[in-house]
C-alpha cells in the first residue's frame, strides 16, 4: 500500500526522520567525519513560537483559482491568509492580468462545538459555501481543534460530496501533530492526488491505465515534450518565467504545478514526460507518487539557486531528453553573460561575511550562491534537516575556509541572536518575518524569499546581487534601529553557549 492510500499523509519525522533541533557545524554535517542528527533529534527546553504546517499549506491552497478554502478549526487558525492574500492578488495579476482576493472561510469552532463536536457545522458550511460561491473545488482544511475533539473531516467530506457540485479536498493540518511544517506539502499533494488525480470510480485508483497503472489519468495522452515544473509557492512568477525560459531553450513545454493551477486542469501533470523539482524538501512525496501511479519520471536533486546549481539542475533535464549539447550551450552562454554582468558587484562582496537562514535546501543553495558572489558564509540556520540536503552540506563543507555553525531550528531567534553576536556577519539573509532580530542588531539584512522578487536561475543570481549591493550601500535603517532599540534577551543569555537548550526538554541534558 502506498502513502496515497492512507487517509492522510504521514508526518515527516516518521517518513523521512526529519528533525528540527540540532546545533552543529558545517564540517559536522557535510565534512569527513560527518554526523547526522537524524537519529537522535533532541527537543529544546526553551522554545519560541514558530509556524505549523497549516501556513505553507494555505499558501498553496489559496492560490488555486476557483477554489474556496474552508478552515475547520477555531477562528484564529488560518488568519495568516491575510498576508498570503497579497501573493494571491499579485500572482493573479501577473499571470492573468486580473486582481482578485482569495476566498477563505472558517467554521470558527466555539465552546459549544468543542464540547458537542463540529462535524454537523462543517457539513452545513460546505453545503452553504458550495451554493454561495459555486467554486470548482472546496479545500476543507482541519487545524488543531478538530484533531483533538475527534472531528472526522474525511467522513464529513465523503457524506457531503454527493450533495454538492464542488470537488471537496480534505487537507489535514493539525498543527500539534507534526513539528516539521514541510509536512504541509505532502498534506496538500496528498489531497490533490486523492481527489483530483485518482479516478473516483475505480477501486484501483489508477485511472484507465489499468494494471500497468503507468499511463496518464483516464486514458489521456502522454505529452512527450511537456515537463511539470513544481512550485509549491516558493517561487514567484518572475522565477517561474526564468526557469521556463531555460526549459523552452531545450525545446520543452512547461506545466507549472500546483500553485495558481486550476484544479480542473491538474490532470495534465499525469501526462507529462518528466517532473522537475526545484526543491527536494518540497516535492519528493508527490513526485514519487506521480511516477508510481502514472509513470512520470522525475528529477529531484538540485535547486536552481546559484550559478553552479542552476547549471547542474539544467544539465540533468537536458540529459533526460538527450539534449546534452543544447544544455551545455545554454549554460556556457548564460554563465559568460552573467559573470560579466556580476563583475561590477564582486569587489563590494569579496571577503564580506554572511549568515543565512531559511528552509534547509533554500538556505544551503543560497549560501552557495553567496559564495559564488564573493561572500564568506559564517553561519547557517536551516528550519529543519533531512537526508535530501546532505549533498548540499558536502558542497559547503568543501568550499568552507573555516568551520562555521549550523543551527537546525524551526526559527528560534534566541539561538540566532546568540550566534550573530558571536560571528558578527556583514550581512544577514532571513525568511519572511525572520529579519527583525538581525536588523535590530544593526546588521544589513535582506529577505531570502519573497514571491515578488527574483532569486532563481541566472536572472535570480544577478537580481539578488543587485539588491544586496543596494542593501550594503546604505544600511542606515538597521544601524539606527540598533543604536536605539534593545532586543528582549537577558545578558546572561548572550553569555551562554548558543545551543544550551538543545536536548534539554523534559530535564534531559545533552
Amino acid at each position: 500500500m502506498s502513502y496515497i492510500d492512507l487517509k492522510s499523509a504521514p508526518k515527516r519525522e516518521d517518513r523521512l526522520k526529519a528533525c528540527i533541533a540540532h546545533g552543529g557545524s558545517v564540517c559536522d554535517l557535510g565534512g569527513k567525519g560527518k554526523k547526522s542528527c537524524l537519529v537522535d533529534d533532541g527537543e529544546r527546553g526553551f522554545t519560541q513560537g514558530s509556524i505549523c504546517l497549516l501556513l505553507p499549506a494555505l499558501a498553496m491552497l489559496n492560490t488555486l483559482p476557483d477554489n474556496v478554502v474552508l478552515m475547520h478549526s477555531a477562528i484564529g487558525c488560518g488568519t495568516c491568509t491575510h498576508s498570503q492574500n497579497a501573493n494571491v492578488r499579485f500572482g493573479g495579476n501577473v499571470r492573468w492580468g486580473k486582481v482578485k482576493d482569495g476566498t477563505w472561510l472558517s467554521t470558527a469552532l466555539n465552546e459549544t462545538d468543542v464540547i458537542s463536536g463540529g462535524d454537523a457545522k462543517l457539513e452545513q458550511a460546505i453545503i452553504e459555501a458550495d451554493k454561495r460561491y459555486q467554486p470548482f473545488s472546496i479545500s476543507v482544511v482541519s487545524g488543531c481543534v478538530p484533531g483533538i475533539i475527534g472531528d472526522d473531516i474525511d467522513t464529513v467530506v465523503k457524506q457531503v460530496q454527493p450533495l454538492v457540485n464542488a470537488k471537496l479536498l480534505p487537507v489535514h493540518c493539525e498543527g500539534f501533530k507534526t513539528k516539521i511544517w514541510a509536512t504541509a506539502y505532502d498534506a496538500v499533494y496528498h489531497s490533490i492526488g486523492r481527489t483530483l488525480l485518482e479516478s473516483t470510480t475505480s477501486e484501483k485508483g489508477a485511472g484507465e491505465g489499468g494494471d500497468a497503472g503507468l499511463a496518464p489519468y483516464q486514458g489521456l495522452e502522454r505529452l512527450p515534450r511537456t515537463v511539470n515544473l513544481m512550485n509549491v509557492s516558493s517561487m514567484g512568477r518572475i522565477d517561474e518565467l526564468e526557469l521556463t525560459r531555460l526549459l523552452t531553450g531545450l525545446g520543452l513545454a512547461v506545466n507549472v504545478f500546483p500553485v495558481f493551477a486550476h484544479p480542473e486542469g491538474m490532470v495534465t501533470a499525469t501526462q507529462a514526460a518528466l517532473s522537475i523539482s526545484t526543491c527536494p524538501t518540497h516535492d519528493d512525496y508527490f513526485l514519487t507518487y506521480l511516477e508510481e501511479r502514472f509513470g512520470v519520471p522525475y528529477l529531484l536533486k538540485h535547486m536552481p539557486i546559484g550559478i553552479e546549481n542552476t547549471g547542474l539542475w539544467l544539465r540533468d533535464v537536458a540529459r533526460h531528453f538527450g539534449a546534452e549539447e543544447q544544455g551545455e550551450e545554454i549554460i556556457r552562454r548564460e554563465e559568460a553573460e552573467l559573470h560579466a554582468a556580476l563583475a561590477e558587484f564582486r569587489p563590494l562582496f569579496t571577503g564580506k561575511t554572511v549568515f543565512v537562514s531559511a528552509g534547509e535546501f533554500r538556505a544551503l543553495a543560497t549560501a552557495r550562491l553567496l559564495e559564488e558572489l564573493g561572500f564568506r558564509v559564517v553561519g547557517i540556520r536551516s528550519f529543519h534537516h533531512d537526508a535530501f540536503a546532505e549533498g548540499e552540506y558536502e558542497k559547503l563543507a568543501a568550499s568552507a575556509v573555516e568551520d562555521y555553525p549550523i543551527d537546525i531550528a524551526n526559527v528560534q531567534p534566541f539561538e540566532e541572536v546568540n550566534l550573530l553576536k558571536r560571528v558578527k556577519p556583514d550581512l544577514f539573509l532571513g525568511h519572511a518575518n525572520g529579519n527583525a532580530t538581525a536588523a535590530k542588531l544593526g546588521i544589513p539584512t535582506h529577505v531570502i524569499y519573497n514571491t515578488g522578487l527574483a532569486y532563481i536561475g541566472y536572472r535570480g543570481a544577478y537580481d539578488l546581487a543587485r539588491r544586496l549591493a543596494r542593501q550594503r550601500k546604505n544600511p542606515s535603517y538597521n544601524r539606527r534601529l540598533a543604536e536605539n532599540l534593545r532586543l528582549p534577551y537577558t545578558d546572561d543569555w548572550y553569555q551562554s553557549p548558543p545551543f544550551s537548550y538543545i536536548n534539554t526538554r523534559g530535564g534531559v541534558t545533552a
Binding site: T47, G49, I75, Q84, S106, F176, N433, P488
Partner: protein, 447 residues
Amino acid sequence: MSEHFIERSRYLCALGGAAATVTAIPGAIPILHSASGCAGNFAWTQNGGSALQVGGYCGALTTPSSNIQEHEVVFGGDERLREQVASTLKVMAGELFVVLTGCVPEIIGDDIKSVVAEFSSEGAPIIGAETGGFRGNSYWGYDLVLQALFRDVVAKSSTTESTEVNLWGIAPYGDPFWRGNLEGVRRHLEQLGLRVNSFFTTRDTLDGIRQAGSAALNIVVSEVYGLGAAALAAERHGIPYLSLPLPIGPTATAAFLRAVAHKLDLSGPTVEAVIAREKSDYFKLLEPLTDCWNDLDLQRYAIVVGDANYAGALTRFLADDLGWLPELTVCTDPLQEEEQQRLVSGLSDLDSGYEANLVFETDASQVIHHLRKKWPAGNGGTYHNTFSPAFVVGSSLERELAQTLGAGHLSVSFPVANRAVIDRGYTGFRGGLRLTEDLISSIVAGR
C-alpha cells in the same frame, strides 16, 4: 451572513488578540502555551492586516511558546509549561511575563493557573490568562488580558485620585491605528487636566499600570471592546466606567469630552474652553480646502464597513462633520443581540439628523446585496438615480466592492494590507482632519 462559517474573518482568535495586546504592554513578554504554529500564524496575520506592523519589543516569532505536540496532548502539558516558564525567565528580559493559553492545552485540561501561581509565589512577575481560540475572537482576547491586568497587576488602592483616569477600548494591532487613536484621545483628556494611563502608548509604563487602581474613572472608547475588563475593575477596584463611542472629528469629540467632564464633575469652563479652542483650530485648518471641495465636487455617497468601533465612528464623522452621505454601514463583528442594539441606538440620533442604516454582516461578499436593497442597480435607462459618486471606507477587503461600484476606497478597519501606519490616528479633532486628508487624497490621487 452565514450561520455556519465566517468569510475572511477580520480578527484573530482570543489567543491572537491577547498575544498582540501583551506585546503592546511596555516591557511585557507573552508566553504562549500552545501548539507551535499559533505565533507564526499571528505574525503573518499582522503582516497582512495591521498596516505593516508586526511584533514589537517581543512579538511575532520572538514570542516564547511551549510548542506542545502529540506527546503533551496524550500526557498533559503542565510539565512542559513549567519548563518553558522557567527557561523563559532565564533567557528573556522582561518586566512582566504573561502566560496565554491556546486551544490545545485548554481542551486537554492543562492547569495553567497553578503553574503560574508556582512561579509568582516565588516572586516572578508573571500572570496568566486563559485565551483558547474557541473562547472568542481577538477583541475578546484583548479584553481578557486587560482583565488579567486588573486582577493580578493593578494594585488595590485605598485612595482615589480625582484627576486620574484609565483609557482603553482600542485593541493594539487589531486596530491598525491603535497608537495614534489612543494618543489622540489621551491628548484631549490631558487638556482637561487629567492624568491618563492608557496602557499601550510610548508614554505608558508598567508602574503607571500598577497604579491604575487609584483612578477616578475608566474610560472605554468602545461600545463593545474591553467592557469585560471595565466591569471587573468596577467590581474589584471600585472604579466606575464610561463606555463611549470612538470619537472621530469635532462633533463626536466634543460630545465625548462633555460626557467625560460631566461624569467627573469637572467644572464647566475648562471643557468648553478646550472644545472651543480645538474647534476654532479645526475649522481654520479646514478653511482652505473649501474651494477645491466645491470645485472638484468632493461630496460622496458612502458605504462604511468596519469593526464595532469603526462602523459607528466613521459613519458619525462622515454624516455629522464631513457632510458625506453614509447610506450603508456594515459592522463586520459577530456580536450578541444586546451589543448590536447598543450600536444601533448609538447611530439612531445623529447630530446632523442623518439617518444611518446599520447592518451586521461578517462577510465582505455580501455587502453589495445589502446595498442593493436600498440602491438597486441601474436599469439601463437614460435617467437613473444611481449610487454615485460613491466611496467605500472599510478594510482592504472592500477594494473589490469599490471596484464593482466604481467608487473610491480607503482602508481603515482591519485588515489594512495596503497602507503603512506607524502612529497615524483618526481620533479627536485633529484625527478628523487626518481622515479628511486621507479620504480626499485617495479621490484626487490621479490628478
